[in-house]
Symmetry: C2
Amino acid sequence: MQNKRVVLTGDRPTGPLHLGHYIGSLKNRISLQDGYECFVMIADVQALSDNFDNPQKIKKNVIEVFKDYIATGIDPQKCTILIQSLVPELFELTTYYMNLISVTRLERNPTIKNELQHKSFANSITAGFLSYPISQAADITAFKATHIPVGDDQIALIEVSNEIVRRFNRVYNTDILVESEVILGKTSRLIGIDGVAKASKSLNNAIFLSDSPEVVKQKVYSMYTDPNHIKVSDQGRVEGNVVFAYLDAFLNDEDELASLKSQYRRGGLGDSVLKSLLNEILQSLLAPIAEKRATIIEETILETLVHGSEVARGVAATTLRAVRDVIGITYN
Amino acid sequence: MQNKRVVLTGDRPTGPLHLGHYIGSLKNRISLQDGYECFVMIADVQALSDNFDNPQKIKKNVIEVFKDYIATGIDPQKCTILIQSLVPELFELTTYYMNLISVTRLERNPTIKNELQHKSFANSITAGFLSYPISQAADITAFKATHIPVGDDQIALIEVSNEIVRRFNRVYNTDILVESEVILGKTSRLIGIDGVAKASKSLNNAIFLSDSPEVVKQKVYSMYTDPNHIKVSDQGRVEGNVVFAYLDAFLNDEDELASLKSQYRRGGLGDSVLKSLLNEILQSLLAPIAEKRATIIEETILETLVHGSEVARGVAATTLRAVRDVIGITYN
């Protein structure tokens, strides 16, 4: 058992990070890096599990995600930033954990369940995709992470990891693996600017942390509001209104937010005033991020990542050695 | 593409090897080790996939299986003998291959299919057990094996491996992985001495390569023959007769075998004469094996295995590097 508080977070490098990542997890991480030992993983292997036929995208975005990290204030002096595939101990841990969880249990993962319901996808679910929660359990336990800052759509996966931890400790009569708990971000699922779905790269409805001020403004002004709110004096709906969803997430003054909402509902508050406010808020959030990004020296990126991965390997190797000892398959 | 002929064989260390292993695969290997580059793998990780809660058994039998290898004539000067878990590159290869095969396809593996039909087992099939054919594909391809000496119950698994090879080469537009072909042993499934099922350690119906002459004799004399063949003069059945199944496998003189069968069918050939003959054949097969076993120096076993595993790692690491290059996730 351990007393140390360890955070593991990470992202699949399938695209640059956006405001949804920021508010759902990144912002938390930045505040956590002072109080916790902190591992930030760029999960290239997990990204491969459903992008195996488009690996170029992954390699390119490893670098983009790293830049997003540095730009938002993740500090390689405080956190270990690593590339998943450069810590091969994770593959071996995954293998041992695969014996501790049933296929039936993995099929209850909400993401898989969803795909299974679509007959056309059901037959093409790969072993890799079915098993990614096991790989996540390896990531979490390798670094003995106690706290995982994620969105609420990830809670089910952390539960799988904890089930594996409990089963491992029971089967091998040990306490070397530790369970982890979720730290939820302020807004778990930021809606897309189209109001249709969760903001995502693939739906092209996200505001990226690397978007230029002009693009951000243009995206804010293209946001869906209330289609029946035509004249300024009309009564407007706050629920389902994308601008308010973003204000909920990014306007920190609760009183101002409440007063804007009641004014909008009553009538007399125009969309353009609201959008202008949101634009200002986002610009002042993103300006220092852009500034910090401009200071990143391209040539040092891989070096920093390789170094972080080596540090992470040291930690993961210690866990793996303990796991092999406990299972009883050590040969010297 | 390659011209070199490479053999990979191996065993799950869940018990000492028996005559079924010898006639199904070991005998082939010994003759192959001169004409092929040869890897012999003690598959401790695969053994864990359905013995994860009994790992002590595995570690102990790694040593027993090694002794069986040496005793039957596998020569560490000619073959690389390795322990699977000491070649961690195999775990990583498995991970990449897991993205190339569907869960549905894995469920068509005859072994899994069989378990799925028993409702009580179906829900407890682990991810590790479902995936062991992928791990086998990693073993085969890591060493670029072209030939696999196995029993016919393994043909379906080699086909899975070849499917993964073809898919990998197609998706990543390469030819670095090579397909393999099966070399069938003389008798793929040697029946148990009870006549009920395939000889196996778990059913306690096998003659082990390490059995003493007395135990072998006692097992031969306890074999089921034809229950209606009571007096020597009775007509007897050859089919389903365990003694004849073993004579089929181990009596090399075809003419003598045919003449014994016709005499037995006609009547006039007693079971004890037959059993005495089989006992003689098996004793002269096993005597030099026992002799060779007595020369093994216990203290050198682990050293030889660790050395072989290191040699194997070198080969597997070269394959893995090529695989990562082709996928495009290399970072320096």
